[in-house]
Symmetry: C2
Subunit: 107 residues, 2 copies
């Protein structure tokens, strides 16, 4: 799973949100580093829906504008947990190896 999809699932793990809200949330989660484009978001949403990792929650009209909310499914939560663990393991492996390699010349 790639970064944008992972962050969309992470955003929805905090509770149901609508598309544009997810974009703002992802920017917050990633410390401003990841700014989802509309095209990326809606294409990913379609895919995550068809995989059953997210589901439509409800629709609201706010100031005359439609807001379509999505929520994480049980499968989505399980998948997100598995991906997070995988990422954590890989990141730790990289840091450990960089640390050992970096000590080579300093000893």
């Amino acid at each position: 799973m790639q970064e944008p999809s992972f962050l969309i699932l992470t955003a929805l793990a905090a509770g149901p949100q609508h598309g544009y809200g997810v974009i703002a949330d992802v920017e917050r989660i990633s410390d401003g580093q990841v700014r989802l484009r509309a095209g990326t978001l809606y294409a990913a949403i379609d895919r995550l829906l068809s995989e059953g990792l997210i589901a439509e929650d409800r629709e609201e009209i706010v100031d005359g504008r439609l807001r379509r909310y999505y929520r994480l499914t049980g499968d989505g939560a399980a998948r997100l947990a598995a991906e997070a663990e995988r990422m954590h393991r890989h990141a730790s492996a990289a840091v450990a190896r960089l640390r050992v390699a970096g000590q080579g010349g300093a000893a």
Copy 2:
């Protein structure tokens, strides 16, 4: 950066290795989950070379077979460290949110 490229950099962070060795190392790092195909490996190597994240180290002939070794450059190490930190932050955010959401019904 995607998973295969990240894991190739991680493998080389332990010291110079040749292509086929990287495949075996990546399988070890990922606990058997990621098996790089030759096509993925050599395409990624070409790209990482052109981006200056890795460099050719040396060539050896072992049992009549060529082994081309690659090593991580300074840029590559910096990039790997940045990616690892990013992954760690994202993974932590996901876990934190899953934990909060998961407590909702259990309390």
